[in-house]
Symmetry: C2
Subunit: 274 residues, 2 copies
C-alpha cells in the first residue's frame, strides 16, 4: 500500500529528485495496535535530516500524513506493519541545484510484517562486510536516500549466507550492521560505536543509551570500537525499529549462547509497549 | 517527456529501489539532429556501473529504449535535447538486499535545451565547495543515483552566486566540478585530476584524454591536483556531455581572459559532430 502526498497511489509523479539524486530522507516505523511506535523519535531524526539537506520545512505535513495512514491501518485492523515514510525534494527542472520554494513530496508505504519485536529474535549469524560506509561529514547520523553502501553490503550478506553484516568506516572502525545499530557488552557495560564519521542515529539506539540501560541497571557509553573488541565481547546484539533487539550468536568463528543483557533490554522494550 | 520501460508515462510504479535507496545508475546524453552523441561511451560507463552494482544485464534493453526515444525526438523534429536514462533495480520486497532474478527498470526523460555545445560557452565564475565527495572505493568513476554530495555542493553554489563549484575529495585533492570534469593547463600541457578515490569518469574527459588532445597537438595526463595548482594554471576549463567544454574566467580572486586550448578543443569537438 502506498500513499503519495496523502492519496492512495501506485506510482510516483515524474520527475522526482528522490529518484534522480537520492535527494530526500526516510524513516521506517513500526506500526502496532498501539499505533506508530516512538513516532516522535523518528520525526526528530527526520527534522535533523531536513535541516542538513536544507529541505523545505515539512514536519507537520509528514505528521499529518502518518496520522492518516495510521488511522487507515487501524480501521483495517492491521496489527503489525512496517511503515516507511519517504520525503523527497519533489520535482523541479533538470540539474543538481534545488529550486527555491520547492515543496517536499511524501511517499508512505505500509507492508505487513511476519516477524516483529514482541517476538524474541533468534540469535543471528554475522559476517563483516568489505563494503565500508562512505564518509560524508555533512550527513553523519542522517537517514537519507543515498543507501548504496548498504545495498552493496546486503549483496555481500546474501553471498555469505548470514543474517546480517558488520559495517566499518573508512578507517576500519565498527559503525553498525547493515540495517541496525550495534551494541557490545564489555566488563558488564554496554558499548556502542560513536557515530562521529558515519552511521545512522537509530531510534532504538537512542532509547537504549538514554532510557533502557537505566531500567536494567547497566551503564552504557559510546566509543570507538574495533572488530577485535566485538570478538572479545561477552555479548553482542543489534537493534532497529522493526526487529527491536536481536542477539548475535555467531561472528565469523566466534560463538555466543547466553544473552542476559539483550534479553533484559527486550523485556524493558516490551514493558514500554503493552 | 518521460518513458518508463519504453512506454510514455508521467509516473513511476511503486515501489522502486531507485527511489528507496538510490539503487541504480544514470547517463545524461546530448541529442542533436545527428542523434544521441557518443552513445557508446555512455553505454560503456553504464556497463561499468551495472557490473559494480551487480545489476541484471540490461545494456541491450537500454540501447533499444534509447533508440525508441531518439526516433521519437527525430520524428518530432527536436534539435537539441538532454536525454537522461535512469536504470534502477526495479521493485521488490522491503529491505536493502536485492532479489535475485530482479529486472532492471529504465526511465528515460527528454527535455529541450536552451544552451548547448555548438555554442561557445561564456567563461564561468567558480568557487570551491566545502562539501567534499564522499569516498566509497567500490563506486569510483560510476554515475550512480547517490548524488547528495552534488546536491549539497549545488546549494553552496546558489548561495555563492557562481556558475560552478570545484569539488575536493576527503583529502582535499581536486576531483571535479559539481557536474563536470576539470582540466587545467600547466606548462602548455593538459592535466586532469586522477579519479582513483572519487569522481565520475566523464565521456568528454575520456575524449579529451584519448583523442582531442592529439587533434590539437597538446599532451594530456591524469595527476593528483591541488587547489593551488588550479590558481596557478595558465588556463582552466570543465566539460560534460551537455555543455561541451566551458572555460573558467574566475576562481575566487584569480581571473583568466585567454583560453586558447579550451577554444581549440571546442573546435575539435565541433569538427567531430558536423
Amino acid at each position: 500500500m502506498h500513499w503519495v502526498d496523502g492519496v492512495r497511489a501506485e506510482s510516483l509523479p515524474l520527475p522526482d529528485r528522490g529518484l534522480n539524486f537520492g535527494d530526500g530522507l526516510f524513516e521506517t516505523l513500526l506500526f502496532t495496535q498501539q499505533g506508530l511506535v516512538y513516532q516522535d523519535l523518528h520525526l526528530s531524526r527526520l527534522q535533523a535530516g531536513i535541516t542538513a539537506l536544507g529541505m523545505p520545512d515539512c514536519l507537520d505535513y509528514v505528521r499529518q500524513q502518518l496520522a492518516l495512514v495510521s488511522s487507515h491501518l487501524c480501521e483495517e485492523q492491521y496489527t503489525h506493519c512496517a511503515v516507511r515514510a519517504t520525503v523527497t525534494r519533489g520535482g523541479g527542472p533538470r540539474g543538481y541545484a534545488p529550486v527555491s520554494g520547492c515543496s517536499a513530496r511524501i511517499i508512505i508505504s505500509a507492508s505487513v510484517m511476519d516477524s516483529h519485536y514482541p517476538v524474541e529474535q533468534a540469535p543471528a549469524a554475522l559476517g563483516v562486510a568489505k563494503t565500508p560506509w562512505s564518509y560524508q561529514p555533512q550527513l553523519v547520523g542522517i537517514k537519507h536516500l543515498n543507501r548504496l553502501d548498504q545495498v552493496l553490503a546486503a549483496r555481500e550478506r546474501l553471498d555469505a549466507g548470514v543474517d546480517e553484516m558488520i559495517m566499518l568506516d573508512d578507517r576500519s572502525s565498527v559503525v553498525s550492521t547493515i540495517s541496525g545499530n550495534l551494541f557490545l557488552v564489555e566488563k558488564g557495560a554496554l558499548v556502542t560505536p560513536r557515530l562521529d564519521r558515519c552511521g545512522i542515529n537509530g531510534t532504538r539506539r537512542r532509547l537504549i543509551l538514554d532510557r533502557w540501560c537505566k531500567k536494567i541497571g547497566v551503564e552504557a557509553r559510546e566509543a570507538q570500537v574495533s572488530v577485535e573488541q566485538l570478538e572479545n565481547a561477552s555479548e553482542l546484539f543489534y537493534c532497529n525499529a522493526l526487529t527491536g533487539v536481536r542477539p548475535v550468536g555467531r561472528l565469523g568463528s566466534k560463538e555466543w549462547t547466553q544473552f542476559p543483557i539483550c534479553k533484559a533490554l527486550h523485556q524493558a522494550y516490551c514493558g514500554e509497549n503493552q
